[in-house]
């Protein structure tokens, strides 16, 4: 069976500090990987998706970047956090051409 991990679960960072959130998937190979941000009680905003190692598509211009250094690893980064970067960050995976996504447990980021 497949499992998706995210860490850390919660993070409090000052404005201007760097960020690195990590997501890994087990039990599958060559998955599509996704980063979303969610405002409280609302829908998900797609930030980045990747169909393969080194292939990143960005949906929203912003202060964030993503990388996929390994097949089942997806990293969300920032060089300098803004207050507006606070939120709930979700990583998800799907099979290539698959119709469903499977989500990790999320990271709650608070920028102070």
């Amino acid at each position: 069976s497949q499992t998706i991990h995210q860490w850390p679960a919660t993070l409090v960072q000052p404005v201007g500090s760097p960020l690195s959130l990590e997501c890994t998937v087990e039990g599958t190979s060559n998955p599509n990987l996704y980063w979303y941000r969610q405002a409280a009680g609302r829908g998900l905003q797609l930030l980045f998706y990747s169909v393969g190692i080194g292939q990143i598509s960005s949906e929203v211009p912003q202060n964030l970047s993503a990388s996929r250094p390994q097949d089942r690893q997806f990293i969300l980064s920032s060089k300098k956090l803004l207050l507006s970067d606070s939120g709930f960050y979700l990583c998800a995976w799907s099979w290539q051409g698959g119709r469903e996504q499977y989500f990790g447990p999320g990271t709650r980021l608070t920028v102070t």
Binding site: Q45, R99, G106
Partner: protein
């Protein structure tokens, strides 16, 4: 941008009542998914519908995909407190998924 609007945005009902949540778009999707999310957790997939007019049942939950594959509904019969959560629809298009605005459901015992 392919937008999915959900209605209502908030819903608070008594245990045992029935309810329907709607997911509407002006775009056609190859598939549509429904998820339920608990506070502080990731969304969990409930169902995927693919064919226009398709109806799927999951215990007390009934999901329908519109004939034109632009909209969907979720009907819950005899709601229970365990149904409380945020319900999200998502439309699939190629490698991307577009999420609805969400419906927050509270079922009062």
């Amino acid at each position: 941008t392919q937008l999915l609007e959900q209605s209502p945005q908030f819903l608070s009902i008594q245990e045992g009542e029935n309810l329907t949540v709607y997911c509407n778009s002006s775009s056609v999707f190859s598939s549509l998914q429904w998820y339920r999310q608990e506070p502080g957790e990731g969304p969990v997939l409930l169902v995927t519908v693919v064919t226009g007019g398709e109806v799927k049942k999951l215990k007390r939950l009934t999901f329908q995909f519109g004939d034109a594959r632009k909209d969907s509904s979720l009907h819950i019969t005899a709601a229970q407190p365990g149904d409380t959560g945020l319900y999200l629809c998502a439309g699939g298009a190629g490698n991307q998924f577009y999420f609805g605005t969400g419906t927050s459901l509270t079922v009062i015992p």
